[in-house]
């Protein structure tokens, strides 16, 4: 498969498009957890119940159009290859838990991949909306519409006092997790992040690495989300998260300015060294690649690097994950082979950028 063709199928809209504040905020996500009153929760439900839920979704929602998302496709976990599942996880469309542990798990996926509805994960239904940039309110809007759409066909487990009832008591109430993925290289470089994280935690928000709980912040990308789901409205939770994110954006911009002022040449050196590594290396581990991509992205944002598009960080951070590399290679790869593949993929992708910009300049002349 050619790289161009692979990219066409691999890149979801939130990776390549830009949104508000997308120099710092890579994506915004809203997740709503819902259960159906008539069935026991996935913790204890029988295989028959699980199958019934999948059938219900297949019959009622799959292959039906819902404006503006087009048709929804139903993917059953037990019909997918391990690599295919891994790719969906790396694109943040499904959770690792759904891919690995849910025998009757399924996922309704919208054509543009902005929306995925996980079925039989920890809860019967998990609606997820993923938008580029800082668009939490927009994502909540869409999630609410989908929620209402589903509710016209099923009875949700809901209690006046406790709200939407979920398997885990940490999700009860709104069942909503709002999260924002942020690229904060300057706050990390100036060692302010260690100070900021505990402060954010005190506000009832959680800071994590890219791939959720316990994962480290590869490439200076942090995920910030709400912890509390009970006692606050969805809108208030989103507003609170948004205001913290906006403060972080301001802090990061200040730190970037300060870096440019105080250590311009060192910063430029660091950025171009990283660019050199990405365009020339033949073997590269994901940790090093993530760090270099972060530097290059910072270089683009600050105007040091002009001939590479900004979405390169979002895109390559995902494409260089093991699942994608193996899909691109068309088969399983050993870790050492992956590092070679990864280096090739990144080199080729950056060459595509160079060609694109040369053509653009050619047109201008």
């Amino acid at each position: 498969m050619s790289l161009e063709k692979f990219l066409n199928t691999a890149v979801s809209s939130w990776m390549s498009q830009e949104g508000p504040d997308s120099d710092i905020v890579l994506s915004s996500r809203i997740r709503l957890a819902r259960n159906i009153e008539d069935f026991q929760f996935p913790t204890v439900f029988t295989n028959e119940e699980a199958q019934e839920i999948v059938d219900l979704f297949e019959k009622t929602f799959a292959y039906k159009s819902y404006v503006p998302f087009g048709k929804f496709e139903l993917l059953k976990m037990n019909e997918l290859q391990p690599i295919e599942k891994r790719v969906l996880v790396e694109k943040h469309l499904i959770s690792p838990h759904l891919a690995e542990d849910c025998a009757f798990g399924a996922c309704l996926l919208s054509e543009n991949e902005e929306v995925s509805i996980m079925i039989n994960e920890e809860d019967h239904i998990r609606i997820q909306c993923l938008f580029p940039g800082l668009q939490l309110t927009e994502a909540l809007d869409v999630a609410n519409q989908l929620d209402d759409w589903i509710e016209t066909h099923v009875n949700y487990a809901f209690d006046e006092k406790r709200g939407y009832l979920t398997s885990c008591p940490t999700n009860v109430g709104t069942g909503m997790r709002a999260s924002v993925m942020m690229h904060l290289p300057a706050l990390v470089l100036t060692q302010q992040m260690n100070r900021i994280i505990p402060a954010i935690n005190q506000l009832g928000l959680v800071v994590r690495g890219t791939y959720g709980e316990g994962s480290e912040a590869l490439g200076n990308i942090f995920q910030i989300s709400n912890q509390i789901t009970l006692g606050k409205s969805e809108e208030d939770i989103v507003e609170d998260l948004k205001s913290v994110v906006q403060q972080l954006i301001a802090q990061e911009r200040m730190a970037r300015e300060a870096l440019v002022k105080t250590s311009n040449i060192q910063l430029e050196d660091r950025i171009f060294r990283s660019y050199g590594i990405l365009t020339n290396s033949r073997i590269i581990e994901s940790k090093e690649a993530a760090q270099c991509l972060s530097d290059v992205r910072l270089g683009i944002d600050l105007g040091y690097i002009r001939n590479v598009s900004r979405s390169i960080l979002n895109e390559l951070m995902i494409l260089m994950q093991p699942g994608f590399l193996q899909q691109y290679a068309g088969g399983a790869l050993r870790p050492s082979e992956r590092d070679v593949r990864r280096a090739t993929l990144i080199r080729e992708r950056l060459k595509m950028e160079e060609r694109k910009y040369q053509e653009m300049e050619g047109d201008e002349e």
Partner: protein
């Protein structure tokens, strides 16, 4: 750190004893702590076991104490009739079995939810459109009743009469819901 009693297993229970002003630090494994039963008298919240950190968050009673009472008095089994999950199982897995569990375990739930959600235990967000119809109306009535009281206090009787009519019409709509089985 190794248990000071058996000197074999790792110590997971750490606490400080103060007897007649004399302070002693005690580090035990769970097994030895169980054996030295007299320790448990102090262990309402003093014993801190890493293994029980999460379960402890869900279970207000000390896990060790519960183990003890169940051994002597027989356990009080709180079980969900629908999915057969017991409260004890719930505290172990941290997940409910079905929506009825919220009702079955409700008397234990209030403090747990408060701990997890910074002191909140009552939902303040979205209400489902279809099944929540009656709830929507009830909430609206509550709000209007409050408004009615305010208007009466301020002696704005004309407005109060309007609000009263509004409440009546909502109440009759609520009756319809009641007859519809929701």
């Amino acid at each position: 750190m190794i248990c000071q009693e058996c000197k074999q297993r790792p110590a997971t229970l750490h606490f400080t004893k103060i007897i007649n002003g004399e302070k002693t630090e005690v580090h035990l494994c769970e097994h030895c702590a169980q054996e030295r039963g007299e320790m448990l008298m102090f262990s309402e919240n003093a014993g801190f076991s890493i293994n029980n950190l999460l379960a402890g968050l869900l279970n207000l009673e000390s896990p060790l104490k519960e183990a003890k009472t169940s051994a002597f008095q027989g356990p009080e089994i709180l079980q969900c009739e629908r999915c057969k999950m017991t409260y004890h199982q719930f505290t172990k897995v941290g997940r409910f079995g079905c929506s009825d569990c919220y009702h079955t375990f409700s008397r234990h739930l209030q403090p747990i939810l408060r701990r997890l959600h910074s002191g909140n235990a009552t939902h303040a967000g979205k209400i489902p459109k279809r099944i929540g119809g009656a709830i929507h109306i009830r909430k609206q009535i509550e709000k209007l009743k409050q408004k009615l009281q305010d208007l009466i206090v301020r002696e704005e009787f004309e407005k109060a009469a309007n609000v009263r009519d509004e409440i009546r019409s909502l109440e009759s709509r609520l009756m319809e819901y009641g007859e519809g089985g929701l």
